[in-house]
């Protein structure tokens, strides 16, 4: 369909509630023809797979990484490449990769050659590291305790070979959330990073009454640490109860919590969302805190390598990180990774008792 961008826009004529266009407008003809009638697929190389329909038709997908933050220049380049090799058809994956959809087998290799020449990072399909889902970070968020895009870049540079060529026992899903609000789903990822605070919000008593609502602010606190301060028309925070989650700041701008010296990154591991083999699992705490060290967070990368390398060395084929840890046991996890176990690792929140070991079954590691 032809698109129009008029010079003069009559905004009063806007139609509302039309919803998105129908997806069929964007499907390549071979997909329209074989929609819901696929037979199987084969992964031909880390960045190339072919889907075969019951009719015998095929479609090749070439996957490349994207930083998710894309300029219009790059989007135009992607569109041009898709026009040249894919009749204009391409898609994105739920993990921010770009997939070029090729209907003509003879165009697969020239496409991959051009992508390689243009330094696109081809890969991510199958049992390996895929792209990282992440949040906005300092680029565009008021509550970010850490930048997200930079962490993603540093991690993916480090593990690039596991995206482009090398295998892992099963998929390794990294995720980055720049605060505990977690607008990316990092709480169920193999290895995930969460931006955290470690000190109390600073109460701006003068502005509280102008900017914030008392009941909403009190209700936002998971530990009921916030109580009214009627004399100041503001609130008090019980320092012994506050766990620095920052949810009060989400509803009340007069409670800033960002702190350059004390904010940083926690690493959580062993989560997954798929139902394969074991049910979905939450990620659990591996490293309680590492400092913010832009631009490349070397401490975070080193700690990640300890976890990643131990997983590669110890996991059976098809085991995700969480399945491997469950099999060897958490006491062994801390031994094989060399990460310290600290007070912060023992839960002291609402469901803490669910994580305490109520058995004499223990593996001796020393």
């Amino acid at each position: 369909m032809p698109y129009v961008i008029p010079d003069v826009v009559d905004v009063k004529q806007r139609k509302t509630d039309i919803g998105p266009p129908h997806y069929k407008n964007f499907l390549p003809p071979v997909i329209q023809k074989n929609y819901g009638d696929w037979k199987t697929h084969e992964i031909l190389s880390p960045g190339l797979m072919v889907h075969i329909a019951n009719s015998g038709d095929k479609i090749w997908s070439v996957r490349v990484a994207s930083p998710r933050l894309l300029s219009t220049d790059t989007l135009r380049e992607i569109a041009d490449i898709a026009e040249k090799y894919c009749d204009g058809y391409f898609r994105f994956t739920t993990r921010n990769n770009i997939e070029f959809l090729v209907s003509d087998e003879s165009k697969v290799k020239p496409l991959m050659d051009e992508l390689a020449a243009k330094k696109y990072m081809i890969g991510g399909i199958g049992s390996r590291v895929s792209n990282i889902v992440h949040t906005q970070g300092w680029i565009h968020c008021h509550s970010a305790a850490v930048d997200a895009s930079a962490l993603v870049k540093a991690i993916m540079d480090e593990f690039a070979d596991y995206f482009t060529t090398k295998d892992t026992p099963n998929k390794v899903r990294f995720a980055v959330a720049c605060c505990t609000n977690m607008c990316g789903a990092v709480h169920c990822s193999d290895i995930a990073y969460v931006g955290i605070h470690r000190k109390l919000p600073r109460i701006d008593h003068d502005n509280f009454k102008n900017l914030c609502e008392l009941p909403t602010t009190m209700a936002s606190c998971p530990t009921a640490a916030i109580t009214p301060d009627p004399a100041k028309k503001s609130i008090k925070i019980n320092a012994e109860k506050c766990m620095y989650c920052g949810n009060c700041f989400s509803v009340c701008p007069a409670l800033p919590i960002a702190d350059p010296e004390n904010d940083g990154v926690a690493i959580v591991v062993g989560g997954k969302v798929g139902n394969l083999r074991k049910p979905p699992m939450f990620s659990k705490l591996a490293v309680a805190y590492l400092p913010n060290t832009p631009p490349r967070w070397p401490e975070v990368i080193k700690a990640t390598k300890k976890i990643f390398d131990a997983y590669i060395a110890g996991a059976k084929k098809h085991e995700r990180v969480g399945e491997w840890i469950e099999r060897i046991g958490w006491e062994k996890f801390f031994v094989v990774t060399g990460l310290p176990f600290t007070f912060q690792h023992i839960d002291d929140w609402t469901y803490a008792f669910k994580t305490f070991r109520t058995t004499a079954q223990i593996k001796w590691t020393k």
């Binding site: 806007r14 997806y23 009638d37 696109y120 098809h318 609402t350």
Partner: protein, 402 residues
């Protein structure tokens, strides 16, 4: 010419094999003053290790209560180009498929009315146009609408539904995830554009239990395709896998959570009545095994990130629902639960949190659902439960102990 800032810290992030977001920002900054100041402010954040964005402000377009997230810089004097830097969410096509023509339209539009920076895609699934000023919002939304696109959800509304690639390009999709997503999005346009709930409500649909859209971890309503028929086996293809080096016993049989597969070196046997429908064997033996009808979906409720009660995974409320157009059963279910949540939910209380506060019984009764063992991992292990006056009248044992 746009303003050029020294960015030594960010420059470091242009090195290395992974595509660089800094390079993307520089491309936009070369021709757009907003993007240039965005780059300048970000370098300062990297230097000072802190964000410089203010809390969101309320901006929007006529007739809608969402779709635009107000964003203002704390450093408007130093970086005037990002004094206003609002996010516009555009409802993505199901399955994230595009054509070059469409993408170029977005680029032309965004170069004219915004920073030239985008996200493909935001966490919820929308196309994200990153950074524009309040005055550009109305023309932007109007031109999008003229060309068949609409804004996505934000705030205490139904959020833009999203799905996996589904039957468009996957042999395992047992429901039409793209169509369900499109249909529900169209059905609930009012709830999407005009926040009217206690808090956000996310719907995510996936074609099978592999859950390539993480629906069980991040959707208030998770729709997961599944099957009830036996797993069809192509024994020759299984043998091919064995010949090519797969250790069927190790890799398939031993990993089966239902312990329902046997392999004698020649024939693979599945005891389907013990199958947990996890997808491990089907995905590892692609092309050799496949699920058979009846197809439908498991409906689960309540996933969310940690605030306020801790992260939750969705839990089962309907073990199996047929998913055929016009999807009336799921629409009725959604409307029922929304009515109840609107009535009883507190400000910023997700539906899962309300269920935990008031009990599954009330929720199930509101939705007209009978309790079944598929809804729990195990029955309760405490001795404290409720009886209604009606319950006291009932004597079910007279029936089942006959």
């Amino acid at each position: 010419m746009t303003k050029k800032y020294d960015t030594p810290l960010l420059d470091e992030l242009e090195k290395g094999p992974f595509p660089s977001f800094v390079t993307e920002m520089k491309k936009a900054a070369a021709k757009n003053a907003m993007a240039a100041d965005e780059l300048g402010q970000l370098e300062k954040s990297f230097r000072d290790k802190v964000t410089y964005w203010k809390h969101g402000g309320i901006v929007g377009v006529r007739g809608y209560g969402g779709g635009v997230i107000g964003r203002y810089s704390q450093l408007a004097d130093e970086f005037p180009g990002v004094a206003h830097f609002h996010t516009v969410r555009v409802n993505q096509p199901s399955g994230l498929f595009y054509t070059s023509e469409t993408m170029k339209f977005f680029c032309d539009l965004w170069d004219k009315y915004g920073s030239g920076l985008t996200n493909f895609h935001g966490s919820t699934g929308d196309i994200i146009f990153l950074g524009t000023v309040t005055d550009n919002l109305e023309p932007l939304a109007t031109i999008l609408s003229m060309n068949g696109f609409d804004l996505g959800g934000s705030g205490s509304a139904m959020r833009t539904p999203s799905c996996c690639v589904g039957p468009a390009r996957c042999e395992w999709s047992m429901i039409d995830t793209l169509d369900i997503t499109y249909d529900l999005t169209q059905e609930f346009q009012d709830e999407l554009h005009r926040p009217q709930f206690p808090y956000k409500f996310k719907i995510k649909t996936v074609g099978c239990p592999v859950d390539c859209n993480a629906s069980i971890a991040r959707a208030d309503l998770s729709i997961i395709g599944t099957w009830k028929g036996p797993i069809a086996i192509d024994q020759d293809k299984v043998k091919d896998y064995a010949k090519k080096g797969m250790n069927i016993q190790e890799e398939i049989v031993n990993f089966c959570p239902g312990k329902c597969i046997t392999w004698d070196g020649n024939t693979l046997t599945i005891n389907n009545s013990d199958c947990l429908h996890c997808m491990h064997c089907i995905t590892k033996l692609a092309g050799a095994l496949k699920p058979t009808p009846p197809f439908g979906a498991v409906i689960l409720i309540g996933a969310k990130a940690p605030f306020v009660i801790g992260a939750t995974l969705s839990w089962v409320i309907v073990p199996f629902m047929e998913m055929k157009p016009p999807y009336q059963e799921i629409k009725d279910l959604i409307r029922n639960m929304w009515d109840w949540w609107n009535e009883y939910g507190k400000n910023r209380e997700r539906i899962g949190e309300l269920i935990l506060r008031r009990g599954m019984r009330e929720f199930l009764e509101v939705c007209g659902l009978e309790p079944t063992p598929e809804m729990v991992k195990e029955p309760r292990n405490d001795p404290f439960w409720f009886w209604t006056e009606e319950d006291l009248e009932k004597k079910p044992w007279e029936e089942y102990l006959k």
